[in-house]
Point group: C2
Chain length 243, copies 2
């Protein structure tokens, strides 16, 4: 029986989603819980790998269990067996061929910035502290240039191994709530470090270091070296995956 | 020269505001920073003592420095010398007789509750997790009974040593944002554990364990034993003090 679950996590103390030998990962924490529950190893698949320090409100995962477990019991047990930094929001039966990564049609991320001369004790785990004032108007105008289909070669990590760098961006919007700024982006799928590289670029535009119309120029070059520094992972959360 | 500062803190890892021998306190952290800055011990006074685990967005403090330090420099230095969980929001010159506790006219607190069958990885440090559904309408009707001047004898800690238990409540209001509920209360001043005891009481009303009109009955008894259990400290934040 294949199951599908929606998972929320504070990624601060994890070395990202994917299993790795040198530190705790989200995949390992959930697979450990399923091993204890099922009595045998269970492989977990996710809609995408989040990097070290990145959070999620709506990561979608799937796994198979040989012996069926009632949904209510499975939901409770998974929450009881995973650490406090992980909450399973829901568990459902999935189609036998459900693949959370390949079947995802659209993904939504939010990137938070605490924009104040001094950091916030409350947002320090979930927002990037940018001390100098940011021009929200300039950042939104530049963000609009990302909408639609573009080649994001200049805005992905050097380590990204995706065959194509063409992506379709549906939403690219800044919101402000006092000193807390949030950038909302939705696309068909994302390249490695794409959101963080975009935010790094938009912040340099907001600081006046780069021109408001730098995005079309940068996309046209296809040259990663010309992009701004990647924003730190702690501000990023995967909020939703649509199928 | 007397100074006045507004301080924000994540109280999770502190044993409350007041100096004590057995653990880190906010007063000690700020006095340590001032000692390093001034080269001699400096006593810090606050608008009120927050309990272990309680947070603040707008705690007001005062202290004297023998040798005057420029405000910008003092502000930067205090933020550099205090831990990440403390941010000094502002520093100003105060009147020579400024007393942050006795001169405060009004204090505002917020108490947050995460109301969902499962906890939130993001709010676990700043909100009380209440798993069963709460009746917001009943909680607001009961909260209205706290407005105005009352004898809060039944809603203070046994250890509270305030001479009078009469207090004037200006605001008593619930707000909801998804699963996050927040209770806003403002009063001339508060008794020890008063907000947390009120929230404990309102939550039992919201769960249907107590009647919607339990507050007037309880206040009339003046009997602490009849009140509900005190809500945990992590949901509470001192948000503002008016002078």
């Amino acid at each position: 029986m294949r199951y599908r679950a929606i998972v929320e996590y504070d990624g601060t103390e994890f070395c990202g989603w994917q299993l790795q030998p040198n530190g705790p990962t989200l995949q390992a924490a959930i697979e450990d819980a399923l091993l204890r529950l099922a009595g045998q190893p269970v492989r977990v698949f996710a809609s995408g790998r989040t990097d070290s320090g990145v959070h999620a409100l709506g990561q979608v995962i799937s796994f198979n269990l040989e012996r069926e477990i009632g949904l209510r019991k499975l939901h409770r047990a998974l929450n009881a067996l995973t650490p406090e930094s992980i909450t399973i929001r829901s568990v459902d039966i999935a189609a036998a061929d459900f693949d959370p990564r390949r079947m995802a049609r659209r993904r939504a991320y939010v990137y938070r910035i605490w924009n104040d001369p001094y950091p916030s004790p409350f947002w320090r785990r979930f927002a990037w502290h940018v001390a100098r004032p940011l021009d929200m108007d300039a950042m939104q105008r530049a963000a609009n240039d990302l909408l639609g289909e573009h080649d994001f070669e200049a805005l992905r990590a050097a380590s990204c191994d995706s065959a194509s760098s063409i992506r379709l961006v549906y939403l690219s919007e800044w919101k402000r709530d006092g000193q807390l700024l949030s950038y909302h982006i939705e696309a068909s799928s994302f390249l490695r470090h794409m959101v963080r590289t975009i935010v790094g670029e938009l912040v340099e535009i907001g600081l006046g270091v780069r021109a408001v119309d730098d995005i079309p120029r940068l996309l046209a070059t296809g040259d990663r070296i010309q992009a701004a520094a990647t924003a730190p992972p702690l501000g990023l959360s995967l909020t939703r995956v649509d199928y």
